[in-house]
Amino acid sequence: MDLTLANEFYRKMLLIRRFEEKCVELYSKEKIRGFLHLYIGEEAIAVGLMHALSPEDAVFATYREHGQALARGIDPKKIMAEMYGKVEGCSRGRGGSMHLFDAETRFYGGSAIVAGGLPLAVGMALSDKMMNRNRVTVCIFGDGAVAEGEFHESLNLAALWHLPVLFVCENNLYAMGTALKFTESETNISLKAASYRIHSQQVDGMDVEAVSKSVQQAVSEIRLGNGPMFFEYLTYRFRAHSMFDAELYRDKAEVEEWKKKDPLILLHQRWKDININKYETEIADIIDEAVTFAENGTLESIEDLEKFLYSDEVAQ
C-alpha cells in the first residue's frame, strides 16, 4: 500500500461517514423516514472490499448497505434521492434506505430479510459457473444471519458446487440488541464456514488495509476456480441498530473502547500525510450536491403506483 491508496481509502471511508451523519440530520428533519441503519464504525469493510472487486463482479448486501453502495460507486446523488423516496433514486424511490439497487454496478440490493440474500448470491455464482463467466459474487451479511437456516443451506451449496462466491460476514457482535454470545453455541463464525470445507478466516474489520488485502487474495483464488471463500470481519457499529434503538443492551464503555479502533483514525495514524482537510471540503460539497439533488427530485405519480410488478409494466 502507498499514500495514494491510503488517500483513496480515507476519502471513501470519510464519504460514508459524513453521508450517514447527514442522513441522521435529515432523519430528524423527517426528510428520511422508515428504517435507517447506519454503518458508521464499519466503513473499512465496505471500502476495502469494493476496492478489490472488478466492475463485472456482483454484490448482494443487507439493509445496512449505504456504505457498500457508496463504496461500490453508486452515485451519492442517486442514493440520497432513494432515501427521499424520489424517482431519481437508484431504485426509483421504491426501496428506500434498505433496498438500494443498481444494475450498472451490479448491486443487487439491499435485502432486509436476514440471510435472505445468501441463496441469491449462490444462484448468481451458479449462473456464472454454468455460463463460463469468470466473475465473483460477493455476499455481505451480519453475525445475526449465521443462526438462520439459509446461511447453512447456502454455504453447503456453494461449497458442494464449488461456486465463485465470497461470503463476507460483518461480525459487529450484535444482532439488534442481542449479543452473539447469547445466541450461538460457537461464537467463532469462521469455524462454522470451515466445517463446510470453505476456506475461511477471521480478519480485523477495522483495518481497511487488512480487509482489502484479504479480499484481493480471495478474489484471485476464486477467479482461479478455488471458491467459495469466507471472511469473518471483526467490527463494531458505533451507532444504534436503527433510529428506533435506545441501546439498552450495551455499555457506553464498550462503545468507547471500540471507538479507539475507529477505522478512519487507525488509517490516519498509519498514514500521517493523508490530506484530511482537503477531503472534508470535497466531501461536504458532494453531500450538499446530493441533498440538493434529492430535494429537487420528483415524487412518482400515484397513477404509476401499481407499476413494476410485472416486466411488461416497467417504464422505459
Partner: protein
C-alpha cells in the same frame, strides 16, 4: 400432430423440449436426477442432459429456490422443482420476499425469469403434510403468476409458457392427474397465461374450477344432462392473473355460479372469485353463488375421511341441482 399420453409424460415432454430448445434452461430440485423425480417426471433426464443441467439438490428448499432466483438474475432460465406444495413452505421466504418483490423493489431494474414447479392436492391418502392445495395462497401474492394445468395440453404447454415469461411463474401440477391420459396436439397454438378455457359450453349454470377438480366437474356435468341441467364448465388455468372477462361473460350467460376449489373455503381463491363476480356481475345473478371446497381440516389419512373431505362429482351434482332450484 396429436398423440395420447399421460399428464406425467406431457410435463416431461414439455420439459424436454424446453431443455433442448434453450441451453439456459436447467432443472434443479430434490431427487430430480438419480431418482428420476419424486413423481417420475424427469425420469431419464440425468442420462440425457447430464448433471450440469439436471441438478440433485440437498434438502434445502429455501437455498435452492433462492439459488434459482439468483441464477435467473444471472441470465439462466432455471426450473426449480419443489416436490410437494407443503414443502414449498420452507422456500416461502425466497418466493415471497425475493422472487415476487425484486422487480418492484428495484424500481424495474431486476426481473426474475424463474419457473417453480410442484405437485399439489389430495386424494392419495398421504395425510396432513402431503395433501394440501395451497395454490390459492400463492395467488394472493402480487409479482407472481400461478398456473394450474389440468389438461394434457396444458401440462405440456405451460412449461414453455412459463419459461417464456420474464417474471416468476409457479406451476402447480395435480398429483392426482399424473397418471391421467389425454390428447396432446403439438401443433396447437398454446392458450396464453391468464386465459381461462370453456371446457364444456352450457347455458344453465357456470361451474368454475381448476386442476384435478376440472374432471370432477366435467363428470358432474355429464350426470346433470339427463336431469335437464346444461352446465358450463370453465377451467380457470391461471389463478393469478384470473381471467375476469371469461368468468363474467359466462355469468352473464348462465346467471348461476358454482365454484369448485380444492383449497379450504376461508380466505380462498373461491372467495376471491365470488367477490369479483359480486363486484362486476352482481345484477346478472339469479341465485346466490355456491362453492364446494375441501373440508376445513388438515387432510386425514383414512380413505373414507379423505374422500369425505375433498370435492367429488356427486357433491357437485347435488350442489348444482340445489342451485337450479333457487331463483
Amino acid at each position: 400432430m396429436s398423440s395420447i399420453m399421460t399428464y406425467r409424460e406431457a410435463v416431461r415432454l414439455g420439459l424436454r423440449e424446453a431443455m433442448e430448445k434453450d441451453e439456459r434452461v436447467f432443472l434443479m430440485g430434490e431427487d430430480v436426477g438419480h431418482y428420476g423425480g419424486s413423481y417420475a417426471v424427469s425420469m431419464g433426464f440425468l442420462e440425457d442432459f447430464g448433471p450440469q443441467r439436471i441438478i440433485d439438490t440437498p434438502l434445502s428448499e429455501s437455498a435452492f429456490t433462492g439459488a434459482g432466483i439468483g441464477a435467473a438474475l444471472g441470465g439462466m432460465r432455471p426450473i426449480v422443482e419443489l416436490m410437494t406444495v407443503n414443502f414449498s413452505l420452507l422456500a416461502l421466504d425466497q418466493i415471497m420476499n425475493n422472487a415476487a418483490t425484486l422487480l418492484h423493489m428495484s424500481g424495474g431494474q431486476f426481473n426474475v425469469p424463474l419457473v417453480i414447479r410442484m405437485a399439489t392436492g389430495g386424494g392419495k391418502q398421504l395425510a396432513a403434510q402431503h395433501s394440501h392445495s395451497l395454490e390459492g395462497w400463492y395467488a394472493h401474492i402480487p409479482g407472481l403468476k400461478v398456473l394450474t394445468p389440468a389438461t394434457i395440453q396444458d401440462a405440456h404447454n405451460m412449461i414453455g409458457l412459463a419459461l417464456a415469461d420474464p417474471d416468476p411463474v409457479l406451476i402447480f401440477e395435480s398429483a392426482m392427474l399424473y397418471n391421467s391420459k389425454g390428447v396432446l396436439d403439438t401443433q396447437a397454438l398454446p392458450l396464453p397465461i391468464g386465459k381461462a378455457r370453456i371446457q364444456r359450453a352450457g347455458k344453465d349454470l357456470t361451474i368454475l374450477t381448476y386442476g384435478s377438480s376440472l374432471f370432477k366437474a366435467l363428470e358432474a356435468a355429464k350426470t346433470l344432462i339427463p336431469e335437464g341441467i346444461d352446465a358450463e364448465v370453465i377451467d380457470l388455468r391461471s389463478l393469478r392473473p384470473l381471467d375476469d372477462e371469461t368468468i363474467m361473460k359466462s355469468v352473464a350467460k348462465t346467471h348461476r355460479v358454482l365454484i369448485v376449489d380444492e383449497g379450504w373455503k376461508s380466505g380462498s381463491i373461491s372467495a376471491e372469485i365470488m367477490a369479483r363476480i359480486n363486484e362486476q356481475a352482481f345484477f346478472e345473478l339469479d341465485a346466490p353463488m355456491a362453492r364446494l371446497c375441501t373440508a376445513e381440516i388438515p387432510l386425514p389419512y383414512p380413505k373414507h375421511l379423505e374422500d369425505a373431505a375433498l370435492p367429488h362429482a356427486d357433491k357437485i351434482v347435488a350442489m348444482a341441482k340445489k342451485l337450479m332450484e333457487k331463483s
